[in-house]
C-alpha cells in the first residue's frame, strides 16, 4: 500500500527539483553572458572609443562610424516598416472580415517571421543590392530589415488595437463619426503605447541583426555620407572583430555596448507593455 505512494512522492520530488534546476540554468546562462561581457568589456569603453573614427592605419579604433550607421539603419527601417505595419494591423483588426484573404495575410506574416536572417540577406542582395541597383547601402539594408521586422510590428500593433474596448468604437460611431474618424481619432490614440512597444521591439531586432545587414548594407567602417552608402553596424563590427581575430578587447567593448543597448530596449518595452495592460484593465 505505501509503496506506490512513496514512489510517487519520490518522483514528484525529482520532477520538481528538475523544474527548479532548469529554471536556474536559464537564468544562470543569461547572467553568465551579461556579467562576462561587462567585466571583460567595460574597461575598454572610454570617450575615445565611442567618438573616434575607425582607421587602424592611423591607430584609431573608435566605433563612432558604427554607431552612426546603426542609428541610420534603425531610423530608415522604422520610417519604412512602422507605417506599413500599422496600416496592415488596422486593416486586419478594424476592416477585414474573416475569410481566405485574412488567412493568407496571416500565413504570410507567420512565414516572414520564420524566415531566417541569412535568407533575408540573400534576398536583399539579389533584389535590392543587385536588381534595383541600390548597391551595398544603408537603404538596401533598411529595406531588407523592414520586411524582416514587419511581422513584429504587425503583431504587436494588432494586439494593441484589439485591447481597445469595443465601447470606445461604439461610442464614437454612435456620435456620428465615420469609421475612419473612429479609427484615427479614438482607436489609434488609445493604442499608442502598444505601437511604441512594437517600434521598440523592432529596434531591438535591428540592433542585433548581423547576417542580413552584412549581405545588404556591407561592412565599410566609415560614417556613411548618405543612405546610399555602405555602412557597418555595431553587430557587424563585432562579428568582423571576432571572426578575423582583429582585437578581442575591442570586441568585448562592442559586445558590452550591444548588450547594454538591448537591456535598455527590453526594459523600456516591458515598462510600456505594463502600462498598456494597466490602462486597459484599469479603465
Amino acid at each position: 500500500m505505501t509503496d506506490p505512494s512513496a514512489r510517487r512522492r519520490i518522483s514528484d520530488r525529482i520532477l520538481t527539483g528538475l523544474a527548479w534546476f532548469c529554471a536556474f540554468i536559464t537564468v544562470a546562462v543569461l547572467a553568465w553572458i551579461l556579467i562576462y561581457m561587462i567585466i571583460k568589456g567595460a574597461g575598454h569603453i572610454n570617450w575615445a572609443f565611442l567618438t573616434n573614427v575607425y582607421k587602424p592605419v592611423r591607430d584609431l579604433y573608435g566605433i563612432y562610424p558604427m554607431i552612426i550607421s546603426t542609428l541610420m539603419i534603425i531610423a530608415v527601417t522604422v520610417v519604412i516598416a512602422t507605417p506599413i505595419g500599422i496600416c496592415s494591423a488596422i486593416y486586419l483588426v478594424e476592416y477585414s472580415k474573416p475569410g481566405r484573404l485574412v488567412n493568407t495575410i496571416r500565413f504570410a506574416t507567420e512565414t516572414l517571421a520564420g524566415i531566417p536572417s541569412i535568407i533575408y540577406g540573400l534576398f536583399g542582395l539579389v533584389f535590392f543590392v543587385i536588381a534595383l541597383h541600390l548597391k551595398y547601402s544603408i537603404l538596401s539594408g533598411s529595406l531588407t530589415l523592414s520586411i524582416m521586422v514587419l511581422p513584429t510590428v504587425i503583431r504587436s500593433t494588432e494586439e494593441a488595437l484589439k485591447s481597445v474596448p469595443a465601447s470606445y468604437r461604439e461610442g464614437s460611431l454612435a456620435l456620428g463619426a465615420t469609421k475612419l474618424k473612429t479609427v484615427s481619432r479614438v482607436v489609434l490614440p488609445s493604442a499608442i503605447p502598444g505601437i511604441l512597444t512594437a517600434v521598440i521591439l523592432s529596434i531591438g531586432r535591428i540592433v542585433g541583426e548581423t547576417a542580413a545587414v552584412y549581405l545588404t548594407a556591407g561592412y565599410v567602417p566609415n560614417v556613411p555620407s548618405s543612405i546610399m552608402r555602405s555602412g557597418r553596424t555595431l553587430s557587424v563590427h563585432l562579428y568582423t572583430l571576432a571572426k578575423e581575430g582583429i582585437s578581442f578587447d575591442q570586441a568585448y567593448a562592442t559586445a558590452t555596448i550591444l548588450v547594454v543597448i538591448v537591456a535598455i530596449i527590453n526594459f523600456i518595452a516591458t515598462r510600456l507593455a505594463r502600462r498598456l495592460s494597466r490602462a486597459t484593465t484599469g479603465g
Partner: protein, 291 residues
C-alpha cells in the same frame, strides 16, 4: 451631399491603402520565394541534383559542389540543440506556469525576454571566448566543434521554447487541472499526466519554432563551429552548416560558385518552409483545442 460623397470616397481610398499595406506581406513572401529559387535552382541542375545534395566534397576551386556535409552538420546541430533546449526550456516553462513563487517568476520572465533579445553575434562571441576553450580542455580537439554549435544553439532557442510553452500550459482550462486534483492526483502528477498532454499542440509548436531558429542561425554558428566542410565523425569535429556556408563565401564568390551558395539557400529555404507548414498545422490545432 457632395461633401458626403467626397468623404465616402476618401474612406474607400484609405481603406484600400490599409488593404494594400496588409497585402504587402503576401507580396514579400512571393517575391522572396521567387528570387531565392530563381537565383538558386539553376545551379542545382548545372551541378546535378544528386551531385549537389549527396556530394561529400565542397571544393569550389576544383569545381566540386557537394553540400551533404553541410546538410548533415545543420541537421545534427539542430537536433542536438532541440533535445537540450526543449528539455531545459519545457521544464523552465512548467516552473514558470505552475511551480514558481510569484516573485521569482517575476524575475525569471524578464530574464527570458532579455535572453531573447541578445544579438546572435554576442552569443557567438561568448561561445568563442568561453565555450570553445572549455570544450578544448575537457573534450580535446580545437574546441570549435559540433558540440559548441549544439550548446550555443540550445541556449539561443530557450526563449522561444519557454515563452510559447508557458503560454500553452497557461491556456489549459483550470477545470481540467482541478478535476485531476480532485481525483487525488498530486500537483506534479497533474502537470505531467493532465496539463502537458492538454497543451501538447502548443508545446509541439514551440519545438518546431525553436527548430526553425536553430537551423537558420548563422553568425553565432560561424564563430564556434570551425567551418570545416567535412562530414563530422565525432561531436568534437569541426563542422560547417548550410547557413555558415552561405555567409562565409558570399563575400568573394562569383559565377557558378555564387550560384551554388544561393542553391544552398534554396535547400535551407525548403527546410524552413516544411517547418513553417508544420507550425501552421499545429497552431491551427492548438487554437481549435482552445475554442
Amino acid at each position: 451631399m457632395i461633401s458626403n460623397k467626397g468623404r465616402k470616397l476618401m474612406e474607400r481610398i484609405i481603406e484600400t491603402i490599409f488593404l494594400v499595406c496588409a497585402a504587402l506581406s503576401i507580396l514579400s513572401v512571393i517575391v522572396i520565394t521567387i528570387y531565392v529559387f530563381a537565383k538558386g535552382s539553376p545551379a542545382i541542375f548545372k551541378v546535378g541534383a544528386a551531385n549537389f545534395l549527396f556530394g561529400t566534397v565542397w571544393q569550389p576551386e576544383a569545381n566540386q559542389y557537394g553540400i551533404l556535409p553541410m546538410i548533415i552538420s545543420s541537421v545534427l546541430g539542430t537536433i542536438g540543440a532541440v533535445i537540450i533546449g526543449v528539455f531545459i526550456g519545457l521544464f523552465t516553462a512548467i516552473f514558470l506556469a505552475e511551480l514558481a513563487p510569484k516573485k521569482l517568476a517575476g524575475i525569471i520572465r524578464p530574464a527570458v525576454e532579455l535572453l531573447a533579445g541578445i544579438p546572435s553575434v554576442v552569443f557567438g562571441f561568448f561561445g568563442l571566448m568561453v565555450l570553445v576553450p572549455i570544450i578544448s580542455e575537457y573534450f580535446g580537439g580545437a574546441g570549435n566543434s559540433l558540440l559548441a554549435v549544439i550548446i550555443i544553439l540550445s541556449v539561443m532557442i530557450l526563449p522561444t521554447v519557454i515563452s510559447m510553452s508557458e503560454t500553452s500550459i497557461r491556456a489549459v482550462p483550470s477545470t481540467i487541472k482541478e478535476g485531476s486534483l480532485a481525483l487525488g492526483a498530486s500537483h506534479i502528477q497533474t502537470i505531467f499526466k493532465v496539463i502537458l498532454p492538454a497543451a501538447k499542440s502548443g508545446i509541439m509548436a514551440s519545438i518546431v519554432l525553436g527548430t526553425g531558429r536553430a537551423i537558420g542561425e548563422t553568425m553565432a554558428v560561424i564563430l564556434v563551429s570551425g567551418n570545416t566542410a567535412l562530414i563530422p565523425h565525432a561531436i568534437t569535429d569541426k563542422v560547417r552548416t548550410m547557413t555558415a556556408n552561405i555567409a562565409l563565401e558570399m563575400g568573394y564568390a562569383n559565377g557558378l560558385h555564387q550560384e551554388t551558395l544561393f542553391a544552398t539557400g534554396v535547400i535551407l529555404f525548403i527546410f524552413i518552409m516544411l517547418l513553417n507548414i508544420t507550425l501552421n498545422i499545429l497552431l491551427r490545432r492548438r487554437d481549435g483545442e482552445a475554442a
